[in-house]
Amino acid sequence: MGAEVPRMTVHLLDVQGLSKTFPLKGGRFIRAVDGVSFTQAQGETIGIVGESGCGKSTLGRLILRLIEPTAGDVRFRGKDITLLPADAMRAMRRHMQMIFQDPYASLDPRMRVGDLIEEPLVIHAIGTKAERAQEVARLLDTVGLPTEAARRYPHEFSGGQRQRISIARALALHPELIVADEPVSALDVSIQSQVLNLLMDLKRERGLSYLFISHNLAVVKYVSDTLAVMYLGRIVELGSTESVYADPKHPYTQALLAAIPEPDPDRARDRVPLQGELPSPEHPPTGCPFHPRCPQAMDRCRREVPLPLERGTKGQSHRVACHLYD
């Protein structure tokens, strides 16, 4: 969100005004991420939800500087990583790792599983060959795979097992922050819960903090302490998971929650389906980006971009960017 948050304490992660524009032909550009601000405490899991094209994956990559931001800064333990030179950034990545959606595409098929997990240790010159082999065995055990998996290739494993391999590789350097981009979306239902349990165990055992990106609101609710809802590159609502689900304020959040098909034939279906589709970020609407689809849009919404405002109760932070709450 755009509002400047006073920097009193050192957060694990402090993102302010982060933006990314991608150039298009003819001098035009797409604002994929537009002025995103939030802070994350150590051990906190922040869920980032939104539909395809809302900028949630770009945001995850910006925070790890896998792509370079156009504006704004990302502080990790108080240090602005957007200013770090390449070698210092590489060293910094020990502390921040990523897990991708597709465990088929993110593991080099020509490398053995043991080498894949050892690779980050080799790059950062950690331990002797024997120590690293021991660590690989420990990591495999941590993610629930047998030691002999080290000698096999990724294609010999199922989707769920490959995601375990990706997790072991991400854990090798003992990171504090893991950006998980749709980590269970490609997995079958009966396998998703196995991987979610593993991620929750690791959080408890290692004090990990996750930035958990997903389109699945039920999964995000299950893992997250805090929830950020994105629409067209902006965070439109941000608050504790309990308060956002119990009292969704932004009309987009309300529509998103109402649209989830729940495995319960008795659930009251009082939803008003949202009309239309996400506008092209190439031609974003004026004013509030959600106004063309918003059932409660007012004149003002067509002209003015709403700023995020604190509307929490009982000491819980809950920010919303909507003129209904001005």
């Binding site: 819960s193 649209a259 098909p261």
Partner: protein
């Protein structure tokens, strides 16, 4: 009498020693105006089952080993390719998962819809155009005249899926087969498309077979549901019964392992251990036995039959 009846369907792939049975003894029925959901995880055989049941699954490489399929009075097994061609797109409409691969990128939307209609109906060009415009309007497409001249890549994902639905319904089919019709779409779009299919079903009175992996979609959209595991139906019931009192341990496991909005944050999720056995590696007895928390000795040797009442059948020796 059921609109669409499938009995004892078995399908295999490959030949000789490498021949593998992927669908084994599947039976189901769909009435007019009714929606049957076929659910299961990837590789359980749900798409092969349904596509083979209307003989749309390419054969070879697949082979229908047994099965009786009937649409109204027509025995689908006895039909020639030519006769099947008169049924597909006409009495049976099909919506596939990925709208980009099932529309031809080199023709306009209008051309493809007109062809779908003129293939089966002897109508003039003007009547075809009018019929197409009516159908586009019915599936909720604004400014249909403008869409006629557009190519599939010029449309958004939601519009493309609506065009596919229009194409499947243009000849007013009695049966609609929908294979994961909303899986590639976002939740707010999914809700729009499911609402649309529901109102079209009620208006046109067609029967629908919906293939999905999403139990939430089943709960919202289907009247009855068949759960598949490793090439067989392991449980079938009216939707409410299945969600309220699942009897097969696999169904029960699936329903409890999904995080729902009501799931307590971070609480340990119940899991189904292990993985689905590959088609060539299915055990002699119940295919779920090696993952089942309620397994008994006979489960490993004997295949449990799908038994019970028409309102609720399950294939299990030690049901929940």
């Amino acid at each position: 009498m059921a609109l669409f009846l499938v009995e004892d369907l078995a399908v295999s792939f490959g030949r000789g020693a490498s021949r593998v049975r992927v669908v084994d003894g599947v039976s189901f029925a769909v009435d007019r105006g009714e929606t049957l959901g076929i659910v299961g995880e990837s590789g359980c055989g749900k798409t092969v089952t349904v596509m083979s049941s209307i003989r749309l699954q390419p054969a070879p490489p697949s082979h229908i080993d047994s099965g009786r399929m009937r649409l109204g009075e027509v025995d689908l097994m006895s039909l020639s390719r030519t006769a099947l061609g008169e049924i597909w797109g006409n009495r049976i409409g099909v919506v596939f998962q990925d709208p980009m691969t099932s529309l031809n990128p080199t023709y306009t939307v209008g051309f493809q819809l007109r062809e779908a209609l003129r293939l089966h109906r002897n109508v003039s060009a003007a009547d075809a155009r009018a019929g197409v415009l009516r159908m586009l309007d019915r599936v909720g497409i604004n400014a249909p005249e403008r869409r006629l001249a557009q190519y599939p890549h010029e449309l958004s994902g939601g519009l493309r899926q609506r065009v596919l639905i229009a194409m499947a319904l243009i000849c007013n089919p009695e049966l609609l087969i929908a294979d994961e019709p909303t899986t590639a779409l976002d939740v707010t779009l999914q809700a729009q498309i499911l609402d649309l299919l529901r109102s079209l079903r009620d208006e046109l009175g067609m029967g629908i077979v919906l293939i999905t992996h999403d139990l939430g979609v089943v709960a919202e959209f289907c009247d009855r549901v068949a759960v598949m595991y490793a090439g067989r139906i392991v449980e079938s019931a009216v939707v409410r019964t299945l969600f309220e009192s699942p009897r097969h341990p696999y169904t029960h496991g699936l329903l409890t392992s999904i995080p729902r909005l009501a799931t307590v944050k971070g609480a340990r999720l119940p899991v189904i251990d292990g993985m689905v056995p590959a088609p060539g590696e299915r055990p002699a007895g119940c295919a779920f036995a090696q993952r089942c928390p309620r397994v008994e000795a006979r489960c490993r040797d004997e295949q449990p039959p799908l038994a019970g009442s028409p309102a609720h059948r399950f294939a299990c020796f030690n049901p929940v």
